[in-house]
């Protein structure tokens, strides 16, 4: 069987913010949204082998060979200068991994883990890989008990979710905005599929967490919050919601001029959600 490979920007062995317990996290390269507020803009594009990053690397970890960009992790000092040099928000340090590679990592660190989370970028752009990986985890007796989570913007279509959800334990789904015009302005895409995806995941009993980013003067208007409350209430039953606070760390371009979300404003929204019977409502543990 020829299992698909994934292009992965980064792998973490320790994460306490990507689902329950400690999780191995794969940040898959590439995203179909172009959010101004993105905290990891270098995970959006796919490398086109232009080579513009090569002079930026102080340790010569990057080179062109046969027209393809080559990255040597042994020389890399993680200074991230190449990311700033990339003209298309791609990541020359992203490497291809097979399902077997990830299974090896999971075996080695099994005792430390509650599960695995695929994030990004947008992991559902590489659904073939994710589905194959999750299916392999489920079939492996040594990995029994690990849960498989997806952190997604929800742009995947209904058909795509069908296969993926059958091997997924939980979905963390980001809704960037409810007003269609606002969502389009913030992400470059419609939110129709994201809202549909939340319903699909919820109907399957796998919507672990709905996530909403508070950007002052944009997503925190009374109208937006009212729509958030209505949407979450319509799902039925208690719904875990995480409110993220916009901050400038990692942000490039126009959003660098936006205001950070102050703690008090986020707490007010959280209180509104709780008052509406929603929850648990999670707010940031650290305020930047």
């Amino acid at each position: 069987m020829n299992l698909p490979q994934a292009r992965i920007a980064k792998i973490l062995l320790w994460s306490c913010v990507d689902g329950p317990g400690n999780r191995l996290v794969l940040f898959l390269q590439g995203c179909n949204f172009a959010c101004a507020a993105c905290h990891n803009p270098h995970t959006i594009g796919q490398c086109n082998d232009c080579g513009d990053c090569i002079p930026a690397c102080p340790t010569a970890a990057l080179s062109l060979a046969g027209g393809r960009l080559h990255f040597d992790p042994a020389r890399c000092t993680q200074c991230d200068d190449c990311l700033a040099a990339c003209p298309i928000s791609a990541n020359p340090m992203a490497l291809p991994y097979s399902v077997a590679d990830i299974l090896t990592l999971l075996h080695r660190h099994r005792a430390f883990l509650s599960g695995i989370t695929v994030s990004g970028g947008e992991p559902t752009l590489q659904t073939g890989f994710v589905t194959a990986l999750f299916a392999a985890i489920r079939e492996d007796p040594d990995l029994a008990g690990l849960t498989c989570f997806v952190d997604s913007n929800g742009h995947l279509g209904a058909l795509g979710w069908q296969g993926l959800l059958s091997v997924t334990d939980g979905v963390m789904l980001d809704i960037k905005a409810f007003g269609p015009a606002l969502h389009l302005a913030m992400t470059g895409r419609s939110n129709a599929r994201s809202l549909a995806s939340a319903k699909i995941a919820h109907a399957a009993g796998k919507l672990y967490e709905l996530r909403y980013l508070i950007v002052p003067d944009q997503t925190d208007s009374p109208g937006e919050i009212a729509r958030l409350i209505r949407f979450a209430s319509d799902l039925g039953g208690p719904q875990r919601i995480r409110l993220n606070a916009f901050h400038h760390q990692g942000v490039r371009g126009v959003a660098a001029d936006w205001l950070s979300a102050p703690r008090q404003a986020v707490e007010v929204v959280a209180e509104q959600l709780r008052h509406a019977g929603l929850g648990p409502v999670i707010v940031p543990a650290v305020w930047l």
Binding site: P20, G21, A111, F112, S114, I282
Partner: protein
């Protein structure tokens, strides 16, 4: 007598010390005005050069460094010497312990071990309501912190899930005191997930308790058991440690031509000298001080045959990097496989060398190897086998890099894993890390959560707000805050985010 009176005057007039703290500092000055126990010239020279170190325990050892009484004796037999009847109620039991603590010495002048509290108190809890138990333990906890305010003072609970352990965890999180320090002994075959979860939740609130890998420790000791005291020291119960002497591995590396010379010649030489230093101190304690004539021995609280010698090492990271650099390899201890492997090889070699040195008046006739957590004056040197401040990899890689060391240090080793505050929202992640660490061979699991006021420095707890207050020269109620403040200034411990230093009033706080 040739007292250096200027130093004494500085103690007496120090506005930051209480009268009791001054009396303690003066007693240390007096002890150190006496000549040191007789040392041969070679050992003396190594001590003077601080290649080996006596932890500034003092010139005339008149009590063991750490004493771990079996408090079960006084609770079941009472004490003739103290004119205490056998306690019948929980109030009487707690009162008996409170009295007992005042008669248990240690190098700090206060007890370092207040007992395996759930085992001690459970027999008195029948018929005591949960609310009453909570109130009584809360007062007991407050008493310990206010009257014995030393963060080296250590209570143990577990591995069973029981009312006393649960209530102690509740009280400890609620009060957020530096004393007592607390260890929960975890055994997957005995402890419940629920009590481990409660202990872990406490870590996210107040960076306590430590979690001890009970099956590993239990196998190291015997039927009379062990206790975790002071900064992660595992020692025989009903005994303790007479002394702790340690080797500065970096200084040994500097005196070696290369790694081979280090392992074959220099290290064995200094291991032998460190054993001689310990033996000289133990000889004084056993043959001259009269300590073992005390009622603690005659009434059976302690057994003179159960005192070990702790053989400490520190600056493993600097030693490894120094040796690698000599061979033209810019080693990065904690990050590179080759550097880590050399560290593990040094630990294995130390084990063999220490096992080859018979000692007198030492439990099982051999010293116990200890990864020593540091002194507040260890500028530029990393405690024990730890990874240097600020260069630590993620906690999982961190644990895996150090885990192979743990088999070699039966009398204690710990790494403090510093986790950022986001983990407060997800204590299950800390539980995963703890279980992963134990599955990898860790003997102790200790975590600091960034942003906590209460933090672990090298092995004891301090309040960051106390440190700030002390630095403003307002004085501190607790003895260890002075050490923590000095350690923070000298050793960059707060850069890492909190770490540990040890207590050494004479060498440290008052300089």
């Amino acid at each position: 007598m040739t007292f250096e009176t200027q130093g004494l005057r500085r103690v007496v007039n120090n506005p930051a010390l209480s009268a009791a703290q001054k009396a303690r500092a003066l007693s240390i000055e007096a002890e150190n005005a006496m000549p040191y126990p007789q040392l041969d010239a070679e050992t003396h020279a190594a001590l003077e050069a601080r290649v080996i170190c006596d932890m500034y325990e003092g010139h005339a050892p008149y009590r063991p460094r750490y004493v771990l009484p079996d408090y079960g004796v006084v609770l079941t037999c009472g004490s003739d010497w103290l004119e205490l009847p056998v306690p019948q109620t929980l109030d009487e039991a707690i009162n008996t312990l409170m009295i007992a603590y005042h008669h248990v010495p240690s190098v700090t002048g206060m007890p370092v071990y207040v007992g395996q509290l759930d085992d001690l108190l459970l027999p008195f809890c029948e018929g005591v309501s949960d609310e009453a138990l909570y109130q009584k333990l809360k007062l007991f906890w407050r008493y310990i912190d206010r009257v014995l305010p030393d963060a080296f003072l250590h209570a143990n609970i577990g591995p069973s899930d029981n009312r006393v352990a649960r209530t102690i965890l509740r009280v400890d999180a609620e009060l957020g005191q530096i004393a007592p320090n607390l260890t929960f002994r975890y055994d997957p075959a005995i402890s419940t997930e629920a009590i481990l979860a409660q202990a872990i939740a406490n870590i996210t609130i107040c960076s306590k308790p430590h979690i001890a890998n009970h099956p590993l420790h239990a196998a190291t000791f015997d039927a009379r058991g062990y206790g975790i005291v002071s900064c992660y020291n595992a020692l025989p119960q009903a005994g303790g440690a007479s002394t702790l002497t340690r080797i500065n591995l970096l200084e040994v590396a500097k005196r070696s031509h290369d790694t081979d010379d280090f392992l074959t010649n220099t290290l064995p030489q200094y291991v032998a000298l460190n054993v001689r230093l310990a033996q000289a101190r133990i000889d004084y304690l056993f043959d001259q001080s009269g300590f073992f004539d005390s009622f603690l021995v005659t009434e059976g609280w302690i057994d003179r045959g159960r005192f070990t010698a702790m053989f400490g090492i520190f600056a493993m990271a600097e030693a490894v990097n120094h040796l690698l650099l000599k061979s033209g390899n810019p080693g990065r201890y904690g990050r590179d496989a080759e550097a880590n492997a050399l560290g593990h090889a040094i630990s294995a070699r130390l084990t063999d060398l220490v096992a080859a040195q018979p000692m007198r008046n030492v439990w099982r006739d051999r010293a116990m190897l200890h990864s020593q957590a540091g002194l507040s004056t260890d500028t530029g040197l990393t405690p024990g086998v730890r990874i240097p401040y600020g260069t630590e990899p993620d906690p999982v890689v961190h644990v895996l890099a150090l885990a192979p060391h743990h088999q070699y240090y039966p009398s204690g080793i710990s790494e403090i894993l510093t986790l950022d505050e986001t983990v407060k929202a997800n204590p299950a992640a800390v539980m995963d890390l703890c279980k992963g660490a134990f599955a990898s061979g860790f003997r102790e699991f200790t975590a600091n959560i960034g942003g906590n006021d209460l933090v672990r420095v090298t092995g004891y707890m301090i309040r960051l707000s106390d440190v700030a207050r002390f630095n403003a020269l307002k004085g501190a109620r607790t003895n260890t805050t002075a050490l923590g403040a000095e350690a923070a200034k000298l050793t960059a411990i707060l850069d890492r985010k909190p770490r540990v230093v040890a207590y050494e009033l004479a060498a440290g706080a008052d300089r």
